[in-house]
Symmetry: C2
Subunit: 462 residues, 2 copies
Amino acid sequence: MQNIDSYVEKNKDRFINELIELLKIPSVSADSAYKKDVLKTADIIKKSLEKAGCDHVEICETDGYPIVYGEKIIDKNLPTVLVYGHYDVQPADPIGLWTSPPFEPVIKKTELHPEGAIYARGACDDKGQMYMHVKAMEFMTETNQLPCNVKFMIEGEEEVGSVNLSKFVKNNQEKLKNDVILISDTGMISKDTPSITTGLRGLSYVEVEVTGPNRDLHSGLYGGAVANPINVLTKMIASLHDENNHITIPGFYDKVENLSDEERAQMAKAPFSLDNYKKAIDIDDVYGEKGYTTNERNSIRPTLDVNGIWGGYTGEGAKTVIASKAYAKISMRLVPHQDWEDITKLFKNHFESIAPKGVKVLVKPHHGGQGYVTPIDSIGYQAASKAYEDTFGKTPIPQRSGGSIPIVALFEQELKSKTILMGFGLDSDAIHSPNEHFGVWNYLKGISTIPLFYKYFTELSK
Amino acid sequence: MQNIDSYVEKNKDRFINELIELLKIPSVSADSAYKKDVLKTADIIKKSLEKAGCDHVEICETDGYPIVYGEKIIDKNLPTVLVYGHYDVQPADPIGLWTSPPFEPVIKKTELHPEGAIYARGACDDKGQMYMHVKAMEFMTETNQLPCNVKFMIEGEEEVGSVNLSKFVKNNQEKLKNDVILISDTGMISKDTPSITTGLRGLSYVEVEVTGPNRDLHSGLYGGAVANPINVLTKMIASLHDENNHITIPGFYDKVENLSDEERAQMAKAPFSLDNYKKAIDIDDVYGEKGYTTNERNSIRPTLDVNGIWGGYTGEGAKTVIASKAYAKISMRLVPHQDWEDITKLFKNHFESIAPKGVKVLVKPHHGGQGYVTPIDSIGYQAASKAYEDTFGKTPIPQRSGGSIPIVALFEQELKSKTILMGFGLDSDAIHSPNEHFGVWNYLKGISTIPLFYKYFTELSK
């Protein structure tokens, strides 16, 4: 393709400023207090797709937040790429730990990002990575180099489970017909080691509630004589892992695919420094399932983590009380073949079964999704690989991610096409954490790499 | 004594209204947001003691909230009763569970309290019970029947550990010199079964903090590969009790006094219905240390309860995060001979020792106090017993309470005198809980019983 680099160089300030404007809007889908902002963001995405050259852009209403759809069909006989991304973001809390306000984007230079990185909630996940595709589209239409058909589907509920997107996909199979799905919502190994994500973990997210006495009690008068819901909850949660950090829920591992020694040996070749890993998050040692490496623990193995816990008196000072209720939010990351709905049922049955007398236990399933694996011999993967080779001068490494994009498995099931995960973020971008950021270099590199995927995918499809 | 009943009957509406005014002020000592209200309450107590006939009343400043002191010395050769109480209250949360605002007192009739009960934070603990003594004093001075000397010491930090009261007592032994200490900050078995508290449990209150990674992490990218502070905290807390609900901290039981079978048989005679106990707090079964009854578990046995726990995302919806930190407030109720400072050290050393690699653990001691036992053959106990006999027509039952009034052990140590615990509250008063209340009948019964203690104590002292 002609003059990608010069086009990006000429327009980079505008690309950055447009993204910064987008990041100023707190489109937090998990908290209804931000409803107006989420809707406002959808409108901005619509306009940006029109400006980028899409012929037909619409806001598709759902039972939740709308899906922004846009397309440009240049020739029915040419292949069609469906771009998926999301315009909603994770909650920003704990706000206190941000070094600059989460919705007042600033560019800071860091050791890893001498060109600067944009600090804001959603900078990388996924506004920044999603917007790379909008700008790549703009380049291809502005320079009359769009080689195939394009469809955009940008949703606003990815961070809360994409419930309404699932319905939308099931009900719009013809509209969404495509030859390959392209997503940038993952990362790469490092700035000089590009990688393509070939696997994603599934997810089951539940909330549990333990109720003891019908009111908070004085811990002196009742302490030791009635079940304390917080103590009970800690015992129940603790029992979900054994001494080797295996998950104890009966049947949990039944469908887990065990990789061959050869596959594990392949994985082990990816460059990885345990010392840097520990230093980056300031821990003196890693922790996890016995018999697996850190990279295996967070990619090919399922997990169970408490994401939040609360109960009793959490204010200033001391209160000698036995709380009536205790709560926890628990998520399980699943590997391919583990069905998230089956796992959710297994969790619910097991958790309810281990409740001691004297308490009542309620398990509320939140949301979930299936895991996913993509073969590296597909046209889509090959096209992506060649694109990275052109812009990075290196063949990208196939890599399984520990993260989840539940919708990917559904895409394959409903739309019968494979998804290619071209991620330009880094593990250090602190997505879902305070001080999330996205390197300016990564952002621009994505914009200049994506069009080459279209070129090679069209060529290889002939 | 003359016309106690007629005096109480004539003035009961005023007695109730004065208490209601006192209860309107949110004197929450644990939360600095209420500082002004706590100080305002101290002033009101000062004025009430002056009106009740104390000669010399003063607000004694401390490093924290002031202590209100008042006295009436009628004859150096007569015995002196030191009345202790507190004007601070527990925090009111969870506010949402109150059926009426905690600081807008209302009188409601209930099955147990056909005469009505005053609903407000502090109604029983301890504003209501403390104010009974002020009104009893008023009666004795108004009717010229005060038989001995009286000193009042009303503090504002009982709910946060009485740290400054301890210093005050140590530095004012002459001023506080007395022959017996009288406190109403406990309960009785039931309206028709008066009881005198002969034992109190000690307390050690700590806050723990578990720190994992230096920032919140994405649970997909890091889940399973790093220690999750919340999961770790639940495992650590769960390990503090074994399968028989014995506390596992090494040395924890070393100094626990084991009661003789005879003493336990005596205790077992106190009227108690396990069915009513369970029904009152809506639990299907009790829970506690193996080998002990419910009444033993919450009086003669030490306990460990989590009073609050928090960490990670606790807002609406879902957030897939591994928190950097998790916290818990933990209190241990101790029995006589367990030294609270030793137990706090044992806890700290043990809790830090069981922390797995990959996390840092911090244990912050909050406050504490020693347990206490009073003999039933003392003049003070006998005087209290006779007072109850007069007003209830029954001999009160000696009973050990599971609660703690840490300052009582210190009184004995510093002032060399015994404390008599004349409580008029009921377990169902919901102290420390939403909808705390105090029966009007109990309040007035206390006012008419207390002067008789002065009478008999003075007679028996001759």
